[in-house]
């Protein structure tokens, strides 16, 4: 009786399946619950990885509920890579579609923020540009300038107050969440990622910057109410701009489709 890895795997995450035949104890008897050690190891280790990765979700729904949800998730979306630090990228979508949690509409977006923090933590290092580098750019060249963001920068947009919810569940004496939509940028000055609340238009601006749009076009993308100064100050203060790339005027029309004749 040969136990292939297909057979061993089939019963591993399905307790309703019988223990494969051909697995024994030391005396030639059926392995029985000895096989459950592997079932348990897989489910527990993946649940723990999700608990470490989504501590705010765990707090929001409670540890027991989280174990239950994680148990369902890991069976439909087991890891596809041995890099457990990145496990759970499909968890936000799973939460969004998970029927019993539909009344907590913000969960999925808070999970996206936690995922962004984790990805930022492991992203490549970058040094910020010198404090005076931007001031050294001639005013007439500023509009065509491209800002290269540090690899650890992440943007999370939401219709929910995700920044407030995250802060309320991670720091003492934080104010209660406001009833508003909030966009967040995760910045990592050094080794510890921090979420920052973005002003109106900030996410659209940063998304455009992330797509290598010249500064002028990115500001346009931010909309009428977008104020560049505080966002630029935040990026500079947290070493989130890795490089400045001047672009010639020839590059500009590509990023300004609305300016057509």
């Amino acid at each position: 009786m040969s136990v292939s890895q297909d057979i061993f795997r089939a019963a591993l995450l399905d307790a309703a399946q019988p223990v494969p035949e051909g697995l024994l104890d030391g005396q030639g008897r059926a392995a029985g619950r000895r096989y459950n050690v592997y079932r348990n190891n897989v489910a527990v280790s993946l649940t723990e990885a999700l608990e470490v990765g989504f501590p705010v979700i765990r707090k929001l729904i409670g540890p027991e509920n989280f174990k239950h949800v994680a148990g369902q998730f890991l069976r439909v979306a087991p890891p596809t890579s041995p890099l457990m630090m990145f496990y759970g990228s499909e968890f936000p979508a799973f939460l969004r579609d998970f029927e019993p949690l539909q009344h907590l509409g913000y969960l999925s977006d808070v999970a996206r923020l936690e995922l962004a923090l984790r990805q930022s933590y492991h992203a490549a290092d970058a040094e910020g540009i010198a404090a005076d580098a931007l001031a050294a750019v001639p005013p007439e060249a500023l509009g065509a300038l491209r800002l290269e963001l540090a690899p650890a920068v992440r943007i999370v947009t939401s219709d929910w107050p995700i920044f407030d919810i995250w802060r309320f569940n991670t720091s003492e004496n934080a104010p209660k969440p406001r009833a508003e939509a909030q966009d967040v940028v995760v910045l990592r000055d050094g080794f510890d990622p921090e979420p920052h609340l973005l002003p109106k238009g900030g996410a659209a601006f940063l998304t455009a910057i992330g797509k290598a749009a010249p500064l002028e076009c990115a500001v346009d993308a931010g909309g009428d109410k977008f104020d560049l100064t505080p966002v630029l100050g935040l990026l500079l203060n947290t070493n989130a701009i890795a490089a400045l790339h001047p672009t010639g005027p020839n590059h500009r029309p590509n990023h300004r489709p609305s300016q057509g004749t």
Partner: protein, 285 residues
Amino acid sequence: MFDTQPRFPELPALPGVGYKPQHFAAIMADPDPVGWLEIHAENYMGAGGRPIAQLRHLSERFPISVHGVGLSIGGEGALDPDHLARLKHLINWLQPTVFSEHLAWSTHGAEFLNDLLPLPYTNATLTRVADHIDQLQEVIGRQMMLENPSSYLAFAESTWAEPDFLSEITKRTGCGLLLDVNNVFVSATNLGFEPRAYIDAYPLDKVGEIHLGGHDEDEDDHGAPLLIDSHGKPVVDPVWALLDHTLARSGPRPILIEWDTDVPDWPILAAEATRAATALAKVAA
């Protein structure tokens, strides 16, 4: 084969510990009696950030043993080329003193199951494992060490005893072995064999590193003890005794304390390492 050589060409026959980030400051301040560190390869495959920075720092001061937990050397499928490339990258920049992996499988199709799953000891498994080790050693350009597993069950189809199986793999591939003495004790208890006889049959001349760790206790369907390798407790006395038995035959070896869950404060881990240093002193004298 490489432009650069490891800063530390050999693991010293001293205690080492599995590195945990929460111990960074304590280790840098006073590592005694720890002489080297082990890391899990997969935890250092991100692009950057604190993990990589800490590892760079540690590698300047300590010999590093890189221990893979995700290659699935015993898998029925091919080794994951992406993961091989990641291992090669890590080994190239870090230049660790040694690299080891497990006699186990963990990948099935596109899935990674995050556990060390067991293998039947057959000729087919032997050929497959040896082929995968050949491939790995070719990719990383150096010898690896293969670790004996903790067993909770046996396969009816097995035709090899585990020490003979491992011995044959070393002959076919030229790989070294990592001997986990706690795993021997766990498997011996679970499957009812004599742990000292296992050690006596093990090719100790191929052993470049020893592992010790704690285990949990459970029972099987018949009320027989079922030990579970958990790395969450101190090493038990019978395992220390089995270490003495091993060292008396092998001579001094690098000994790692593995403590991966419910990780204690540094002094408790350092005390376990001190106990390993005492065991080593007995055979050095």
